[in-house]
């Protein structure tokens, strides 16, 4: 049964897209067909981490939403660059990216006209069926808006990313409440960019008390990640780094049960 996993953060800058991209690659490396869809139409970005050149995209999620193409035509096979050589005949592992458009006109059109979220839902399901995906990651726009709520509503699991920061704490509570009301089956709280020297047990306790749900991972603030500046996939570049190890464990947890 294919899995749909949404990643969300209430505020920007939590490292949501980096977490999503790395989780997607680590998940695909288990020998699965994985898709990543960028529904952050207002401020797309996850394609950068995959090293995808937006100029090479004939079609994007926007084209699908405006009825200009089928959703599969906006999916790009990133397997070779992100996982390595796979025999052409092999169906697994595979990694597909469905980018949003970076063209100013396209972004302006979404802001001006909006779009039918139900159509996004149709697209997501056509994508899972058409590409025969085992797992689809949905990278959402920070904050609460229609496409994030839709992704929560259709997801089997929701990964909530926040920093150890009071603004993140308060905002995330809103998402947690909405996710509960949308009856998302599983919620994973990920505290990212945890600085060295912080009392991890206390932090974990605080977060768990605030949201009444378990913290799935505390990810360390990493200099290497900062230096990488979204210029690549961290887990590929530093496979033995504690951050990569934690991400791998998180991917395991997402895939079990």
């Amino acid at each position: 049964m294919p899995k749909i996993i949404s990643t969300h953060s209430f505020r920007g800058g939590t490292g949501k897209s980096n977490t999503t991209a790395n989780l997607a690659v680590l998940t695909a490396k288990r020998g699965l067909r994985v898709g990543v869809i960028d529904t952050d139409i207002q401020s797309p970005g996850i394609h950068v981490i995959f090293g995808f050149d937006p100029k090479s995209a004939k079609s994007s999620l926007n084209d699908y939403l405006w009825g200009r193409c089928r959703i599969e035509e906006a999916a790009y096979d990133m397997t070779e660059g992100c996982i390595g050589q796979v025999h052409t005949g092999d169906e697994r592992p595979r990694l597909f990216l469905i980018p949003s458009s970076l063209r100013t006109g396209e972004i302006a059109r979404v802001l001006r006209e909006g779009y039918d979220v139900a159509k996004l839902n149709d697209g997501i399901h056509e994508l899972v069926e058409g590409l025969n995906l085992d797992v689809l990651f949905i990278d959402t726009h920070p904050g609460v808006n229609e496409e994030t709520l839709l992704s929560i509503a259709i997801s089997d699991a929701l990964v909530l990313t926040l920093r150890p920061d009071q603004q993140d704490f308060q905002g995330t509570a809103v998402t947690v409440e909405l996710a509960r009301r949308l009856e998302v089956p599983r919620m994973f709280v990920v505290v990212n960019k945890v600085p060295e020297g912080i009392d991890q047990d206390l932090l974990r306790e605080q977060v768990e008390a605030a949201y009444q749900c378990q913290v799935a991972a505390l990810l360390p603030l990493s200099n290497e990640m900062v230096k990488l500046g979204s210029g690549g996939l961290f887990a590929n570049r530093y496979p033995d780094h504690p951050l990569s190890v934690s991400l791998k464990r998180l991917s395991d947890e997402l895939m079990t049960s």
Binding site: V117, D122, E146, L150, A153, I154, D156, R181, L182, P185
Partner: protein, 345 residues
Amino acid sequence: MSTNQPAPPIDEVGALLGRMRSAASPVRDVLRELHERLSKDDSGEVATYIPELAKANPGWFGLSICTVDGNTIEFGDVSQPFTIQSISKAFVYGMALEDRGLENVLAKVGVEPTGDAFNSIVLDEISNRPFNPMVNAGAIATCDLINGADHPERVARMLNMIRTYCGREIHIDHSVFLSERMTGHRNRAMAHLMRNFGMMGEKFEESLELYFQQCSILVTASDLAVMGATLANAGVNPKTGERAISADNVKYVLSLMLTCGMYDYAGEWAFRVGLPAKSGVAGGIVAVIPGVGGIGVFSPPLDAKGNSVRGVRACTELSQRFGLHCLATGSGGNALLEALTARRR
């Protein structure tokens, strides 16, 4: 499933989350598949008795379901306006019941199905009443029962009634109204005949105008679903919380829709689909799943009996698939409710 306890109106967050659940509902996949498959059926003819109707695109096809908790799941041309035509008859009948009370309405219009066509000129030989309010004669006599100090007030009250069912401002398509009025010789003849028998009052000509106006109200498939859901919800519009008709009168409207709502296909419709419904020559059908919700379908090509070809097929399939037949003991609407509340997996 009691229809006597309308669901409370929903708060803003609830409405937003409801929209998301609707967008994510597995029922949407059912509608999408149905829409795709039935779109290929291009049988039937668009009504041409007035030029305005003949302009309709035979490809238009919208499917909408609205639940008694106010969630809408829809697909296709659900925002395309079209004239309500005969669908108005059911709602105006409900209004006459509210205005005059059951016995006074029954004195003027019967509740007996006829096997005759919608435009037949047949009155009950003993009472001189038209057989039921869903044939033209009965609908015109029903119009005569609508209260109001003068004609404009009667029109305004009728529009307000439909507005309450739809939950939005509605308008009359003026060119359709003028065409109906110019070419409605048969309806005019019926009105005169009923006036002759004393079944219509002195204002019968104004009532006839009112009838032409009610048929020319513009609605969409989305509207029809909300209108149906309002009846399903004991008379309270689930989107606005506004009452459109008393719960007591809902059952009279629904029973007439079940027995007479689909022209001379009504018997087979009740047998096969088993839902109170009303169709119109512009291609609309509203169907009511009591206690569960309303279905609105719009597709202009009509079959020989004057019902939307794709509309009849869509309602038939939805009824069978979700076990919606209202006389199916033990299961009425439950499968749809479950599907509507279920997450995708």
